[in-house]
């Protein structure tokens, strides 16, 4: 009986030792996934995903508690990139990419209260107190943070009109 116990413990000890040495030789530190994920997210902390800003969303994604499609402004491309990074399978059905929307200000309603100015994560709104405000189209990400700040509901989300350069040939219906 003793031989059985002894041989196994010695064998285990020897192998354990060998593995300890090997792990020190082959050590490789991997950058935390969360930092990489955060670099991919838009970084506007718009909160549409329900997490406290992009770092919160990145942490949730790293833990796996958030689906890759949790970031609406990112759209399909970002969802695909996150899924590939985490090696998750991806179903794009939930993400109805009906096209980006941009905020537009109805100039006759704007009273120049500057409330929306402060809420915009990318400083896309131009204006001064008591002056009519307007929105820079290139800077607006369509996060709709400004819509509910406006007392006179002058801010409206409108779909981006398709231009000749941005038009995409429709996909044929598969037979």
């Amino acid at each position: 009986m003793l031989a059985a116990i002894l041989s196994l413990t010695i064998l285990g000890a020897l192998l354990g030792l060998a593995l300890g040495i090997a792990s020190r030789l082959l050590h490789v530190e991997t950058p935390p996934v969360q930092a990489e994920l955060e670099a991919m997210l838009p970084g506007t902390n718009c909160g549409q995903c329900g997490f406290p800003g992009c770092s919160g969303a990145a942490a949730a994604l790293a833990e796996g508690s958030a689906p890759p499609t949790c970031c609406p402004p990112g759209g399909k491309a970002l969802a695909a990139a996150i899924a590939e990074k985490l090696g998750l399978s991806l179903d794009l059905s939930s993400l109805t990419d009906e096209g980006p929307k941009l905020a537009t200000i109805a100039e006759d309603l704007c009273i120049g209260c500057c409330r929306c100015l402060k809420s915009c994560p990318t400083d896309a709104i131009l204006g001064a107190p008591k002056q009519i405000h307007n929105i820079l189209k290139e800077a607006c990400t369509g996060c709709a943070a400004c819509v509910d700040h406006c007392p006179t509901e002058a801010v409206v989300m409108q779909p981006v009109p398709v231009t000749l350069q941005h038009w995409v040939m429709p996909k044929p219906l598969a037979a």
């Binding site: 031989a3 041989s7 196994l8 064998l11 192998l15 060998a18 090997a22 082959l26 490789v28 090696g87």
Partner: protein, 192 residues
């Protein structure tokens, strides 16, 4: 030399470890989504199987039989296989992180891969000499890799097919691997 060749052919094709002996089915289903990860898994398993066959022969003839501890056979074999797998995992993590990422959970799972332990035990059962048991381990690992690569190629093609909803995902994979097993039965009875 020709017996070695015949042994390899018989273990790889005639009684293939995955499709005829039905050993190592879960990695076959799990890692066969793409050919590159299948090749990576095949290489890792070949390395582990060959080493495990050699180690298990040594353990059997130098440790277990002299001390009549053959009842400990499975325990020691698993211990050795686990450490070899752990070493392989560290090596692959260092050598190619991409492959490590694509193999994912299935790399440490080689320890529980019944093909590896199965081959080690079969070696003991057939009382092969050292060289023949290593050859037998290598041959069955070759068969494992062959089936894994072929099946991965089929799954890559099926991933693009318009599979009906009821069969999408793993059901169609099961149908495919069963048809592959059907085809491999052609080699049965190959008196080689």
């Amino acid at each position: 030399m020709s017996e070695l060749l015949l042994l390899l052919i018989s273990t790889a094709l005639v009684n293939n470890v995955v499709l005829i002996k039905f050993l190592g089915l879960c990695p076959a289903m799990g890692v066969s989504k793409s050919m590159d990860s299948a090749l990576g898994m095949g290489m890792a398993t070949t390395f582990v199987m060959t080493l495990a066959s050699a180690a298990s022969w040594a353990l059997e003839h130098w440790l277990l039989e002299p001390l009549e501890l053959t009842f400990l056979r499975i325990l020691t074999f698993i211990l050795v296989i686990a450490s070899v797998v752990q070493f392989t995992e560290m090596f692959i993590k260092k050598a190619s992180p991409g492959l490590y990422q694509s193999l994912g959970i299935y790399l440490p799972l080689i320890t529980t891969n019944c093909a590896v332990l199965g081959v080690a035990l079969l070696n003991v059962q057939q009382a092969y000499g050292f060289f023949w048991s290593v050859a037998y381990g290598f041959g069955s690992a070759l068969g494992f890799t062959l089936v894994l690569m072929t099946f991965a190629g089929l799954r890559e093609r099926i991933a693009l097919a318009r599979v009906p909803a009821a069969f999408a995902g793993s059901p169609i994979a099961f149908v495919t691997i069963s048809l592959l097993a059907l085809a491999f039965m052609g080699f049965s009875g190959l008196n080689v």
